[in-house]
Symmetry: C2
Subunit: 354 residues, 2 copies
Amino acid sequence: MNNQVSINELARQAGVSPTTVSIVLNDRPLAVRLSPSTREKVRMLAKKLNYHPNHLAKAMVTQMTQTLGFICGGIGSTPYYSELMESLTWTAESHGYQLLLKETRWDKKKEMEALEMLLSRALDGILIFSRIFENESSRILQMCGEHAPLVVLGISDLPDFSSVCFDFGSGMRELFSRLVRHGVHDIAIADDRTLGIPRPQDAKTPFALQQYTLKHTAYAAACRQYGITPRYFDFLFQSSATVQDCIAQILKEPPQVLITSSDLFAARVISSAGRVGLRVPEDFSVISLDGTQFFQLYNPPLTSIRQDVTLMAEAGIQELIRLIHERNGCQNIILPTTLCMGESVKKEWLQESG
Amino acid sequence: MNNQVSINELARQAGVSPTTVSIVLNDRPLAVRLSPSTREKVRMLAKKLNYHPNHLAKAMVTQMTQTLGFICGGIGSTPYYSELMESLTWTAESHGYQLLLKETRWDKKKEMEALEMLLSRALDGILIFSRIFENESSRILQMCGEHAPLVVLGISDLPDFSSVCFDFGSGMRELFSRLVRHGVHDIAIADDRTLGIPRPQDAKTPFALQQYTLKHTAYAAACRQYGITPRYFDFLFQSSATVQDCIAQILKEPPQVLITSSDLFAARVISSAGRVGLRVPEDFSVISLDGTQFFQLYNPPLTSIRQDVTLMAEAGIQELIRLIHERNGCQNIILPTTLCMGESVKKEWLQESG
DNA sequence: TTGAAAGCGCTAACAA
DNA sequence: TTGTTAGCGCTTTCAA
């Protein structure tokens, strides 16, 4: 079945010991002390016999698999996660790691199982973008313990874990400052509330920041700062009835500017608007909080407070690799969002100089 | 570092041999011959000590990793691949396998490297959706040889490999038959030509079927069968200039029905049409050849000749697992496409009874 | 009904 | 400058 040549066979044919072969082929520090002729001989023969080290055997002794796990709630459902995943595979690869994927449909039980499975495989580290931390934080800490470092994506302020997330505040303030400068005050937000806690009846009451999504938080803060009366629309992502209803609500009395929490939803609003004779951005403007590449190909190209997922991938993997080596000191990394100019917001409203 | 209890420790504490523990915990046939009390004792202790078998050690001796590799040209760029990937992870999991992902940006060199990497990791099997087979077929056969079975997605008729792809012919004929019955004869196709060979200048000449994409083939065949004069638009996916140009061409003189090779492109055409005052399906109809879930949420919901990627995932994984066990007899699996009713084609044109 | 012993392919002390 | 030896944690003959 496995007709690979082993290091022993290679050593035998080269007339040296397996150790020597190992040292040469792994470019260990000791390799320099070996005679050049030995090194050359081993290298040639390895090539000639098409020797490939057995990853499993190596991993067993070193306890390193050069593999990272990625647990994600959903990947096929929105371009945001797909693009993040793509970035992660690339970034991981550029650091010499492979990526093992677990998709969990935002199911917490699945997520715990996934974690357990990944740990039993002795992966070098794990990235998580999921709901798993909602309650299980301490259990997870205990599970992972010494085994595999963890980096959490999209959540911040978990005391015992490193995390990477975006600061929507920066992009949001930039947006508001420009809009207000141009006399725009009617700025609403439409958001998926699946993962959130029900909002108080009176939406105008500033709510406890920590409990809501980072997006809402940033919006609410910007509203306060710029004296805007907040206005909310919401829906449940999985329920197309609530989505349609939400869109209907929006179109009934569109705000000057609608902020949406995802590109996908923005696109749907824009398309629906077209059906009832409303044009974007002529009749109202739309700005999304994802900023996927995907919807920058949309028509009109979506204006967004962009989360550059490549930044998140890079930061997440780097932090994970740091943890793999140093094994201590968790860190909360906050990435900036930027205003990404598309054509779904009136151009003059976003000009820098008022 | 690794404070897991090993099978030896477990055996010691249970007062039995490692062999016994292994037999019990893996439910080997021999387990029935062990005394129930021994079995029970071992099981209890394993639970108590939170024993988890070391995947690596097991894999090394069995040479099975319970892991499949998926080499894919692109995953973040279109929902089609994202959804396929999601399905693959789920299907693999339901069969007890994990999925290792390699994304290659349709770069053949990368793809060969990916294959090599996966083979060196002793994965149990590999799925490929890529351009890698354009020339390298025999080399790949040699590389994989005994090591890991391969299933090719999206290409058919590779003599030495199992494959899974869709039969666009069935959906296409269904579409044409309905359209023609309703007197529609102006049916064009718009396709990405990145992966294809340049089409002959005179597009009306029936071209050698094998050389073009399955989609084109099906379209051309349906045109011949129903006496439709084919009409082609094309673009290169990576070049937004060609995409815009193509859309402009289409809108200049839209066909009654435009078939697009991807949902994404269909959406762009529809949006662009809106900008110049053309409505879909009122002014012209659009039907896509992907049929992703994603764009069934679009507005209007896309009508499509749908490739159900869950079918492809299921068939691909099942065939791969069959190969893993049986190690012989490759198979070309052809999956049906179905007409998926959205709202981007005039309703009356698609009614079954003419 | 159970255990001892060998070995998967590799690395890393320690010898020489 | 190179080789010997032991062992990672598990499975699997073979023996008792």
